[in-house]
């Protein structure tokens, strides 16, 4: 099998080590890259992220990485996996910190869990929770239809308008836990912190 070479997009977002370890565990190669030119030329991208949506987008735009990602994904058909806030940044808009536009790779908006919908549950939503897949193919291949993954977040996307495979998680109400629309993949949970469930999912992304 061909050894995938992954570009881990570095825009100053926190801890990248765990993602590197997980990709290397699978025997794939990974490079941490901040140079927009090299990001634009990549064929497999992983977009990590922790922290605030607005600050994340400012960092990405400030270094022109946004244009590189859009070029790679839209013009060069590179595949991309957004993890946690990395997935959120692929949406159209995030309301955190007064709000900011996202990369717009999918049309969904990112909003804070509201008190009514979480039904007495605590925020942030932290820990292993059960994810239900729409189908057991592509990104979700080889996993039980309900599988446990590690989350840590206070903002979420809803399932609306996903024209592809998706997964939901219930925290009071269902929210979007993961999706796969053509070459665009996202997980609200951390596959690199979700034991073999996460490793299987990362393998699926790299193999797909």
């Amino acid at each position: 099998m061909k050894v995938p070479l992954v570009t881990l997009v570095d825009y100053g977002a926190g801890n990248l080590l765990s993602v590197v370890s997980a990709i290397e565990y699978l025997g794939a190669k990974v490079e941490i890259i901040s140079d927009p030119q090299r990001i634009a030329e990549s064929s497999v991208l992983v977009l990590p992220g922790v922290g605030s949506f607005k600050k994340g987008m400012e960092a990405i735009k400030g270094s022109s990485i946004d244009k590189s990602i859009l070029y790679a994904v839209k013009s060069n058909n590179a595949k991309i996996l957004g993890i946690c806030m990395g997935m959120q940044l692929m949406g159209s808009y995030g309301t955190e910190d007064g709000g900011a536009k996202g990369l717009g790779l999918i049309s969904n908006r990112v909003e804070r869990f509201n008190k009514a919908e979480i039904n007495g549950n605590k925020l942030p939503h932290v820990g292993f929770n059960t994810v239900n897949f729409s189908e057991r193919k592509g990104l979700f291949k080889g996993l039980p239809k309900s599988s446990d993954f590690y989350f840590t977040h206070s903002y979420r996307m809803l399932v609306n308008d996903i024209d592809g495979r998706y997964a939901t998680c219930q925290y009071g109400k269902d929210f979007l836990a993961a999706f796969q629309v053509n070459n665009i993949y996202g997980t609200q949970f951390h596959p690199e912190k979700s034991q073999t469930n996460g490793l299987i999912l990362l393998r699926n992304f790299l193999r797909d």
């Binding site: 061909k2 080590l17 565990y25 820990g127 840590t152």
Partner: protein
């Protein structure tokens, strides 16, 4: 529904991993020992989380501890909480940048709440675990800081009430009396957690066999059970514990442990490329 958790705690002192009994430390082995004799990367597939604490009694070498955080984080695919001796925002950041997902504070809550607030504003409240060491004094549970050496003038309930006003994510509650005894968690301590307490609670101190995990996980007020007992859970004991807990119907996360070896290195082009760790 959020899952309950089984946590393995590693106590670190100046390059070695330690066994603790009532907070008195005994050296067990270094990182190589942990990797080989304890088969750490395999063991980690049977737990939900790791807590890694620098409990160095003197001459704390933070750079060396950061190296250990990084090495441990490369060996497992679960969240790691790291701490010990955190007194500023910069060090908290350093722990995160070296592979920790959360940081653990203890004495800082006794001396400098402002710094905790600063850490929270940079990293978020979900990143902060407040560790609380408790000892029974006469008929009251008292809080100690500084590795269990400094008596705080507060009961457990008062301390927890104070903690709820600081934006921390969860509480790691450790019994100094039961620490390392293997006799089971201190039930009375759990009873002393106020019913209306809002934060998730990890109970530690006393676990010696998986039945103790059961006793902890059965408690409504307890979200996670921890053990730091390097000897009682040697071999396949943690693995067997998890299987038994799931069989008993406890609400723990599930994954296929056996597939970890199958998918390791699955993309390697030739057999010569071996997973580097």
């Amino acid at each position: 529904m959020l899952k309950k958790r089984v946590i393995f705690t590693l106590l670190y002192d100046s390059g070695s991993f330690m066994l603790s009994r009532n907070f008195r430390l005994q050296k067990v082995g270094d990182i190589q020992w942990l990797k080989k004799n304890y088969n750490f990367s395999k063991l980690s597939f049977s737990i939900d989380e790791i807590v890694l604490l620098d409990v160095s009694r003197k001459n704390r070498d933070v750079e060396k501890f950061l190296d250990h955080v990084r090495i441990i984080s490369e060996l497992c695919f679960i969240p790691i909480s790291a701490g010990g001796g955190i007194c500023d925002v910069k060090y908290a950041h350093n722990l995160i940048n070296n592979g920790a997902d959360k940081i653990v504070i203890n004495s800082l809550f006794g001396n400098n709440v402002d710094t905790i607030n600063n850490i929270v504003s940079e990293l978020g409240s979900q990143c902060i675990v407040a560790s609380v060491d408790v000892k029974k004094v006469k008929n009251d549970f008292k809080v100690y800081t500084e590795n269990g050496t400094l008596l705080q003038n507060f009961s457990l309930q008062e301390w927890l009430n104070k903690l709820e006003k600081v934006p921390v994510g969860e509480v790691y509650l450790n019994s100094i009396d039961k620490d390392g005894t293997g006799q089971g968690y201190q039930k009375e301590l759990i009873e002393n957690i106020p019913n209306e307490f809002q934060l998730p609670v990890i109970i530690a101190g006393g676990a010696g066999k998986y039945q103790h995990f059961m006793e902890g996980l059965e408690e409504k007020k307890i979200d996670a059970v921890a053990t730091a007992n390097l000897f009682n859970f040697l071999g396949s004991s943690l693995e067997d514990s998890r299987v038994a807990l799931l069989k008993e119907g406890f609400n723990l996360a599930q994954w296929d442990v056996n597939i970890s070896e199958t998918i390791k290195g699955c993309f390697s082009a030739t057999e010569n490329i071996i997973y580097k760790k």
